[in-house]
């Protein structure tokens, strides 16, 4: 096993922290959006659907720039948050979390929506005739059935978040220990004379992590299929 320098370990740990917090922060929003798209029909649904999926296809750099406009300390919302609550995103690891959460939100939303749709809405009717009210049905029928989708979506989003680069570097810059995640560390290594070996190590590590988590996501989904189908 290759040995990592302290700076590289710092980047790895930061990446894991940013990604896990991003996944947790995005989860409730992703669940709500998935529930909305899976169960409700309303005018303009196609447009809402498109907007919610936009982070998948938008250039990450453009997303980072948008975030800077909205959440920069001199910008409207960012300034308000900073002055009123002392919350600052720019140049801070929380900014990396925000960028990652937004960019990987669709991964979670899609997986949850699929599992909600495959968990037949007819089960809700069955539960109603058996006396279960809305929250009861959500808690005991919808949620348990959506759980494998939630898990698979969270894992996929986590893996995707580990690779986030453009939005982070644009929004919160490349600060060691604050915002220098794995991809930014690879970029930095390549900019440094003699840094190829470090870049190769980190790239290999990234690939390994991606494979591990994608396999895990697939495993979770298959097990759910075997159990419920």
């Amino acid at each position: 096993m290759m040995s990592l320098s302290d700076a590289e370990i710092e980047a790895l740990l930061l990446s894991l922290r940013v990604s896990s917090v991003a996944v947790v922060v995005a989860l409730p929003f992703a669940f709500a959006a998935a529930l909305l798209l899976a169960r409700k029909n309303f005018p303009g649904k196609i447009l809402v659907d498109a907007i919610l999926h936009a982070p998948l296809v938008l250039p990450p750099v453009a997303m980072g720039y948008l975030l800077l406009i909205v959440f920069g300390t001199r910008a409207g919302l960012g300034g308000f948050l900073y002055e009123q609550f002392g919350i600052r995103f720019v140049f801070n690891w929380t900014g990396a979390v925000l960028a990652s959460a937004i960019l990987t939100f669709p991964f979670q939303m899609r997986a949850i929506r699929l599992s909600l749709e495959s968990a037949d809405a007819g089960l809700g009717d069955a539960a109603r005739t058996l006396g279960a009210r809305a929250f009861d049905r959500f808690r005991n029928v919808t949620l348990p059935l959506a759980l494998p989708g939630v898990a698979a979506g969270a894992i996929t989003a986590f893996a995707a978040s580990l690779g986030e680069f453009g939005a982070i570097i644009t929004f919160v810059s490349n600060i060691p220990g604050q915002t220098r995640t794995l991809p930014l560390a690879i970029y930095t290594a390549l900019q440094t004379p003699g840094g190829e070996a470090a870049a190769a190590r980190l790239a290999a590590l990234s690939i390994l992590l991606a494979l591990v988590f994608m396999t895990l996501a697939e495993f979770v989904q298959r097990r759910a299929k075997d159990r419920f189908a």
Partner: protein, 364 residues
């Protein structure tokens, strides 16, 4: 135990306009071809469909009334519904599925009821299994048990057998018969299969194109007297088992006579439903002697109706019980059969539903 249903509803080009009552306990079959509106009626009673207009009441409890704007929530109706596709919760084992409604029922059936329903439906060996590991017939039985344990004041069965093959149906029917005989609440059974209706129903509502075409007892239904398009299928007779005769045959009595059938070990006093198909009845002017058939009944002709180009259905009364014989029009002419005349009915075979189970009679 009365159920009062009056529904008017438009669904696109389809108009539903039905009204019927059921005052007695037991099974009321909602019979009709697909597209007759059966499932819409059942959904309206359960509250899953809100009719444009009408009134639905069970035991005087109003579930829906467009005039007073009453519309009880599905959760509050206490109407059990067994869906065609069972709709078991895939993440729960059979026990948790069964107890889902039981745990939520306000007027909770006692713990003893759980064991009784498990026994009634033969679910003992399935309790820890997940629905994915059940056969179609087992799923239907669990769905039935789940609905029963929610202590409904009315049980709706929406073609619970339709998605099953013949052998699975044969597996479930005896359980439904037991359910009919033991359940305390009225049961509405949606079906488009004549055979099921003859075996299970006490009353029949015939539906066509969103309207009630006719209603009456299962005896009327078997004699083809409900609705215009259904030919007679024969006779349904609820008989009482008297005992075993010297010649080894079991004797059944019914209002108007007795029938002998293949020996059954059920205790005397058991009530059994038997069916006699119209094709299995021959007619004779004089009492036949030296004949292999075990059952010859003295009857009187109540009416003769042409059936198709060459057949005729001869409706007979044997005491208070109705029989139908399907013979050729040529035979009617040759024997000179007329309404009101006495004839002997030779019954070639009696269909005794094989798994018929005690209860109804034993309780009386």
């Amino acid at each position: 135990m009365s159920v009062d249903v009056r529904i008017r509803h438009r669904l696109g080009a389809f108009a539903l306009d039905v009204a019927f009552q059921s005052d007695a306990p037991g099974v009321t079959a909602l019979f009709g071809p697909s597209g007759a509106g059966k499932t819409s009626i059942v959904h309206a009673i359960a509250g899953l469909l809100r009719p444009d207009e009408g009134r639905i009441a069970v035991d005087g409890r109003v579930l829906f009334d467009s005039a007073t704007r009453t519309d009880l929530a599905v959760e509050d109706r206490r109407v059990g519904l067994v869906f065609q596709d069972a709709r078991l919760f895939p993440h729960m084992n059979v026990r948790d599925n069964l107890l889902f409604g039981w745990r939520r029922a306000k007027e909770c059936a006692g713990e003893g009821e759980i064991g009784r329903v498990i026994e009634l439906l033969g679910l003992e060996g399935l309790l820890s299994r997940k629905p994915a590991r059940l056969s179609g017939g087992e799923k239907s039985r669990v769905a039935l048990g789940r609905a029963l344990l929610a202590s409904p004041s009315l049980l709706l069965l929406d073609e619970p057998l339709a998605s099953l093959d013949a052998s699975r149906k044969a597996e479930i029917l005896p359980y439904l018969e037991r359910l009919r005989d033991e359940a305390k609440m009225p049961i509405f059974h949606v079906s488009h299969a004549v055979d099921e209706v003859l075996r299970l129903a006490d009353r029949v509502v015939v539906l066509r194109d969103g309207r009630v075409e006719g209603e009456g007892s299962v005896f009327d239904f078997a004699a083809g007297e409900i609705g215009q398009l259904l030919p007679a299928t024969g006779a349904v007779i609820d008989a009482r088992l008297e005992g075993v005769r010297d010649d080894g045959l079991s004797v059944l009595s019914f209002p108007g006579g007795v029938l002998s059938v293949a020996r059954t070990e059920l205790p005397p006093g058991t009530r059994l439903r038997v069916r006699i198909r119209a094709e299995d009845v021959l007619l004779a002017r004089e009492e036949p002697r030296a004949i292999s058939a075990n059952n010859v009944l003295a009857t009187r002709i109540s009416s003769i109706r042409a059936e198709g180009a060459s057949q005729a259905d001869v409706h007979l009364l044997c005491g208070g019980t109705r029989l139908v014989a399907r013979i050729t029009q040529a035979s009617v002419k040759r024997l000179g059969l007329k309404e009101g005349e006495a004839v002997y009915a030779v019954v070639k075979s009696v269909i005794l539903d094989p798994h018929a189970l005690r209860a109804r009679g034993a309780l009386e």
